[in-house]
Symmetry: C2
Subunit: 451 residues, 2 copies
């Protein structure tokens, strides 16, 4: 069973001082790379060197991969060149390209210089793909074979190159021009007779994604097909790399986080909460707050326009927050449902009519209940039946109006290729506030016979 | 390459009428189960029977798995018992248990009756685990071996049972009591010499999760370790099943969707948007709307309390939506950041002090900017310098106050084991509205020297 983190740290601290004791090697061999990565930053450079030096370079590379980019560079930089070179050479190409892309160009060059020229060119090639595309995510450590090989030959090939591959779950079959023509799973290989020719057992309807596809879409494809890895092809159908599901799990996490922040009316953070300095928090937030402020500012104009109504019946003021709050909350619910529906592909632009009908129906039902609730509230505040009728009718109108706006806006934005997550609760609330107030005082003026 | 969905449907429609033509079998053999599942519901029961009957039962079972539960049952119910039995027998235990748990008990019994008694007991055993736990997610189709076996023996074992296993990526080593004592990856098997004993190459620090662990936590563990499958153990350390990453990808999706809906102030939907009837939408939404309404209702009390101030300076009313809106937006931003931080484990309860300090700092900076902006807005509305000073100062106070409330509340709820996602934008907005208005009119009364 797994050792708890604090025990592991204590045990390693004790053992690392006596690296000659076989216990250290035995413990390190048993550890999961992630568990070691969790405790590693607590150690000094000398100790880290000792610990990583005890590991096989591919395992040391995997440990490093679990750390923040800056920690990865810092640790490599404090090592002797030999060990650093062995580790860097064994890093999967996607992880190394991500690291090189994340640090200062000068530091990046130092790492690139550790690699043999051909390997360096591969990493530099990966850096040409935009970060959020399939090409930016993929690794080139996949296993490829030719369709004329036998199962036995492929198994031998795996024994030779398998240690450096990102996954052995799928073996890809390519033709003389490098085009992806088939795929065989390791399960099929193991179940097949040794002299079977690959062409006879390979699947030829290979699901692959183009290198230019956005990572969110890649994650959707992989989730749909329940794959553990997906091949990436270039514009000519040539195999360019693979993306494994563990990287896509991170993508799903990151994209959900991004949508969360947008829904909350804020630019997404690029680092973890505590790594983000307060002034960056402010910078990410202030833009939206100011835009929403400007949009909300016209509520002042609406209210000033109805100044005479306000001074004649001060009681109308009591219900301003309640009415616009209820409208905002309704809109917020509808928007969230639709933004998520669009993100996971359940709702599309062409569904606009159906969505609007459903949300008007829902809005009407909720509006009737809220009209009643508002009327009761008016009664308990003792503002008289006249005002009560005005606010009840307004509540109904505002809820239906907010539902309609919130139903239509996300679909239109999605169509315009603007991320609909930006029509967050705050945004809808703001739109509904001003228009809702206009309705309120117009209804009041008419029903109360005011100037 | 993959055939587009509409072409596939047309091609299958044409071929299914002439099932004797070898083309149909050839096409079906090449298809991904997901692609066939996408077009299947468009066909009649006779055609579906023909199409699924052409497939190997394990593949037909996989196709079925991609459909909604009701469609799965409906299709099985319209088949002859022999074919239905062959397909059900080949469904992975987790998928079958999910299906049986989702449909009407009478229908479920019909399916269970198709299975041999021992198999039926396994499925019924899985149904005992709560739906959202590791036990509710796991499948029992894993490959287990004993530590004394050689690599060659294990490979032979895989050839025998591998077709029915959920994954061959990991082979689990159990002792005589069924306890999980080790794990070997298929890669290690392929790279090892055939006569190596498993005990010599297996990893003994196995990361496993208890059957009672919540699925969200399981997903976090698997994402951290980059596993493609994780073993599940019972209270006695006995191997109970495995969970594969594709099921966890669905979990991550579902949990994010759930948090989204909560953040939008609505109960999560259990089905897709269009599958949810409008009255269910209303039922999911109305509860929160009413709770928020009741919470917001006290703004009326606050405003009535300041009725004399309101009638003396009507201009103060103009800024009500703007001030409470800005407070709500600020709170909404902070809450979203923290709810996400808590969900992914970046922020914890014990960080309360740091979080509060950071958010007060951020709030102060944003508050100063918003104070200035509000003052300018007051100037453009022509309400006079006195009122301008009041609203500017209030804007500063409300932003700082909203930041503080939004910083503390999610952490406290998390500590109380209430999902912090419920302190959504709407919730924070409501809390800030009433308290903010109280500040506003208290400041106004003091600075303007009103009664």
């Amino acid at each position: 069973m797994r050792i708890p983190t604090h025990e592991l740290e204590a045990k390693l601290t004790e053992l690392v001082r006596r690296p000659e004791v076989p216990e250290l090697a035995a413990l390190l061999e048993e550890l999961q790379p992630y568990d070691l990565a969790e405790v590693l930053p607590a150690f000094g450079y000398d100790d880290i060197r000792t610990l990583l030096g005890h590991l096989d370079p591919p395992v040391a590379a995997e440990v490093l991969e679990h750390l923040e980019y800056f920690d990865q560079y810092r640790i490599l930089d404090h090592m002797d060149r030999g060990l650093a070179r062995r580790i860097v050479e064994h890093m999967p190409s996607d992880a190394l390209a991500d690291l090189v892309g994340a640090i200062h160009p000068k530091q990046a060059q130092q790492l690139i210089d550790l690699l043999p020229p051909e390997h360096a060119r591969v990493i530099e090639g990966l850096l040409d793909y935009p970060e959020y595309t399939a090409g930016g995510l993929m690794t080139v450590e996949y296993i490829s074979v030719r369709s004329g090989m036998t199962v036995e030959q492929v198994l031998q090939h795996i024994r030779k190159v398998g240690a450096g591959a990102e996954t052995v779950a799928y073996i890809y079959v390519i033709d003389g021009a490098g085009r992806l023509v088939g795929v065989v799973s390791v399960r099929e290989l193991l179940l097949a007779e040794p002299d079977t020719v690959i062409a006879d057992i390979m699947g030829t309807q290979v699901v692959a994604v183009p290198a230019t596809m956005h990572q969110e879409e890649v994650a959707q494809v992989v989730a749909q097909y329940d794959f553990v890895a997906i091949p990436v092809v270039d514009a000519h159908g040539r195999m360019a790399g693979i993306i494994t599901v563990d990287d896509l799990v991170d993508v799903i996490h990151d994209e959900a986080t991004e949508d969360f922040h947008k829904l909350g009316g804020s630019e997404p953070l690029t680092e973890t909460y505590f790594q983000t300095p307060v002034h960056t928090l402010v910078r990410k937030r202030i833009g939206w707050i100011l835009i929403l402020f400007l949009a909300e500012a016209y509520t002042g104009t609406v209210l000033r326009h109805f100044e005479s109504v306000l001074s004649e019946v001060v009681a109308l003021t009591f219900f301003i927050p309640l009415l616009i709050g209820t409208g905002g909350n309704t809109g917020s619910q509808v928007v969230t449902t639709l933004v998520r529906g669009l993100a996971v592909g359940e709702v599309r632009y062409r569904d606009m009519g159906r969505v609007l009908l459903r949300e008007l129906g829902s809005g009407l039902m909720i509006g009737l209940v809220m009209g009643g609730a508002t009327f009761l509230r008016a009664y308990t505040l003792g503002v008289g039946l006249d005002v009560g009728r005005v606010v009840a009718l307004t509540a109904l109108f505002i809820v239906v109006w907010a539902s309609a706006v919130a139903a239509v806006l996300p679909l239109i934005l999605h169509r315009l290729r603007v991320d609909p997550a930006i029509v967050s609760g705050p945004f809808i609330t703001t739109v509904v506030d001003g228009t809702g107030l206009f309705m309120y005082f117009t209804i009041a003026r008419m029903m109360l016979g005011l100037g």
